[in-house]
Symmetry: C2
Subunit: 314 residues, 2 copies
Amino acid sequence: MTTKEMTETTEEVVEPTRTHQTIEKAMQAVDEVMFNVVSSDVEVLRDASRHILEAGGKRVRPRLVTLSYLALGGEDLEGIAPAAAALELVHTASVVHDDINDHGVVRRGRPSVNAIWGRTFALLTGDYLFTKVYELMAPYGREMNELFAQATIALVEGETLQAAAVKNKNFSREVYMDIIARKTAVLFKIGAMMGGQLAEATDEQLEALSQFGFNIGLAFQIVDDVLDIIGDEEQLGKTAGIDIEQGKGFTAAEGDVMESIKRKLMSADRLDKARAQARTLMEQAVDTLIDTIPPSTYRDELVALAHLIVERDR
Amino acid sequence: MTTKEMTETTEEVVEPTRTHQTIEKAMQAVDEVMFNVVSSDVEVLRDASRHILEAGGKRVRPRLVTLSYLALGGEDLEGIAPAAAALELVHTASVVHDDINDHGVVRRGRPSVNAIWGRTFALLTGDYLFTKVYELMAPYGREMNELFAQATIALVEGETLQAAAVKNKNFSREVYMDIIARKTAVLFKIGAMMGGQLAEATDEQLEALSQFGFNIGLAFQIVDDVLDIIGDEEQLGKTAGIDIEQGKGFTAAEGDVMESIKRKLMSADRLDKARAQARTLMEQAVDTLIDTIPPSTYRDELVALAHLIVERDR
């Protein structure tokens, strides 16, 4: 092996290592912001917030913000962390409230906030996270805050459409797509756009990030629902199938509707088709990205994230 | 009567009329913003939000923002309306969530959101209002958003301290003052400061508004609690005493604790003392204001609002 070859080999190893180190450093900064911002002197708010944050979760939303930012040449990891943290916290708030409505007792492999602290404090913890998000987003300008507002409004609308669909026994394909677009895909879309916006992306690049985020968001939720149906509690770390059973408290008759929905969804054929649809959405997302965003190790990481979202089994 | 006398009389009448017209125009603008911003295509969110907004409420928080703004020489009624609306919406969100935790079935003389739409949709309606507030506040700068965040965080902390005090049977005077400071007085304080900030008040004026708002906020909550105890459902338009009974679902034994708290609070002597304390706080608030803010018909209206807060019987 010549010296030149050795150097090349070393560089090949060093480059991805440096990339991963930067990303992990950025993600640590996001976690630090989240844990610091919830350090209320009101014990139950601090403890319940930390409990749900410590449980982990995939942190896929702040990762998307961070990778989009880095892929567009952004370098200020401390500067982006609060915005990425805000997106994760608003998702976390909705998760905590979701567990109240669904009577979820396990979340991310741990007892849910309402299982430990009860419904009243779970509700207030979710509200607390919503208000901490105001604090995190305050330093950013009008455009960022308008983007952010759009994502959070869609999130709550999507959750509401889902609860209404269960209540009204109207769970058509069209309704399902509208639900997952709002409750998940818009947040992913705006996460990618926020990263781009902070890195001063061009309009064309922002549009590409928007489409990329939206498509992998749809794919993410489809895969999540597939896993929710096939998974058991242990594998998924949350009460299995509870998303599907949401709203079962409305009337006794709805149990049957949910059973029927589940039976339909649970056929192996349907699950395969859902996964295939997710894969198609992901491939479109990657194509859009590669057409518009200049190549870099961070762009590669965005592509890897898109693949991971579709191929994961938990 | 000479012509001069006639003119003077006319001016005396016209000036307060013009003042009131301006204030009512501003308050109408606030209401318009609120109704417009909740016009989601998701029916239940739109209907439930309108339901609680149509029920009225005193709109004392946006009025405080508006009067502070006008008293400091602000003239852009359209410009202030979204900030004032945001403060009222965040209060409304907390009211909707409060009725879930308290099992309140009447609010502002109408069925509560959870009484009509159920717990799940009431929770989501509150969340929706929190996210609409992001939209309303997005155009304002960093300072305004930081002030706003501070108010909303304190609000949720105060509500949580209240629920914790009930649960832990620890309702000392000190705890009570901490609760009402956070859940009410900080929001009033920041409402007044936001009005001043938007009118480019000096630091000294902002400090005076801050103290004025805080003190009338404390007074407001003390009077509210007094009225809550002496009032019946018809007079107050909400389930009487339910604020005090909050958390009764925790354990059976707490019913007794609440009874004891109520008995203590309900003695006529204590109520008189509470009202007197509110009056003292209000008078301090008015003194601070008059020492620092130049006289105007709008300053008079701030003083009148302070008096109304203490002397009201509903």
